[in-house]
């Protein structure tokens, strides 16, 4: 039993050290802030390793963890949505500008992503950052391929506006 306990810890350690930053980047694109991304990664790792997966490799675990991150992110948004509807409308908290997003281009893209719904944003990230096909995205989101295409069209249209404004200003 001690050997089994050590094995999953080794795998988790390897996953965190070799792919942790990549997971955080993925989470960041989903939710838009670093702290939220770190939380998504942590919770997904805990959920993943809470079930014994004796023979899984890091390569097999990474897509699984990303899937858990995506589901958690969308679930969190839905729960917060119910909460937002119950509370009186409050002023949006000021977004702390990440000093690393120094260029005006990055800010523009960042701002454009925030205008997307979580599903639109997830579709965009899965399609253009994760290089998944529409069918795979539909699988992950549990929706139809038609819905994925609609989300992508809306997301691209909104980004297109951003890029065209950037181009004009540039």
């Amino acid at each position: 039993m001690g050997g089994l306990v050590a094995r999953w810890r080794e795998v988790m350690d390897e996953l965190v050290h070799s792919r942790g930053t990549a997971l955080k980047r993925y989470g960041y694109l989903l939710c838009g802030d670093e702290a939220g991304a770190t939380d998504l990664v942590q919770e997904a790792l805990v959920r993943t390793f809470a079930r014994p997966r004796l023979n899984w490799t890091v390569a097999e675990l990474e897509p699984y963890v990303k899937r858990v991150m995506l589901n958690n992110h969308l679930d969190n948004y839905r729960k917060k949505g119910r909460w937002r509807r119950l509370l009186p409308r409050l002023a949006e908290p000021e977004t702390a500008t990440d000093p690393a997003i120094a260029s005006i281009d990055r800010l523009a893209v960042f701002a454009a992503l925030r205008l997307l719904s979580p599903q639109q944003r997830a579709c965009l990230v899965l399609r253009y950052y994760e290089d998944l096909q529409v069918a795979e995205i539909a699988d992950q989101l549990g929706c139809s391929q038609g819905a994925v295409k609609r989300h992508l069209n809306v997301a691209i249209t909104r980004l297109r506006v951003t890029f065209s404004v950037t181009t004009v200003e540039g």
């Binding site: 079930r51 899937r67 893209v109 253009y128 950052y129 890029f163």
Partner: protein, 254 residues
Amino acid sequence: MEQQLIKQELDQLAGVVEPLNLEVEHLSKRVIARRRRRKAGAVVGALVLVGGASAGYGHLASARNSADAAAGRNQVGGAVWPDQMQRRDLSCGKSIDPPIVGADHGPFSLVITKVSRGSDDTVQVSAAITSKTAVRIPDRPGPTNPRLLITRNGVVVAGQDPKLVMSPRPLTTVSPGHGDLVLRTVHVDPAHPYLISPWLASPNPCAGLTWAQLWASDAGLQAVIVVSANELIGSRQMPPDTDPLFLAQAPLKQ
């Protein structure tokens, strides 16, 4: 071109993220705590499940008056079945650990006759229990059904809904005029195998997996049928982690 631009922008945006800084030790403690909570929840769930299974036959249990019934046993043909069945936890991520009697034990054999991939990528399996001698076994082996699992390299990646598939008929009937419980049984002999396919519901991939992902590589992928030996043969062993399993498996090919 536009799509390349979007990809480039996302890559560059993600690139500004600080490296992940996680204390793995702290994470390990959270994992252990979560596993303990899950285990505690599974024990409670199993107790509720056993209680529910017993309650389903409670109205018949009240008619018992035999010595065996008083001892909580139902006896058929010399074999003794415990009247509260427990099942091993073979949920997602688990491996099928010993004790395993294999596909053949005593007079019985568990046989997979066909494995096929459905048009919706699900797995369909036909299986039967055969016997070298004429015997009577519980119709639908035990209140807990034979289970169809999909494993990869020995780890469960898809399985049936854990809820019991209830027979439209009660497992036990009241013997007219005596008030004793009688297990509903079926005759099995070399010429008459017991087809268990009707009790094998289509498995569902574990959370986070899809059939497309499972089928992407058939390396190490197996369809596995398990049947409790306690229920088939009759045994006084109660703890689910010592319930020996009949196990038959067949590789899944793309």
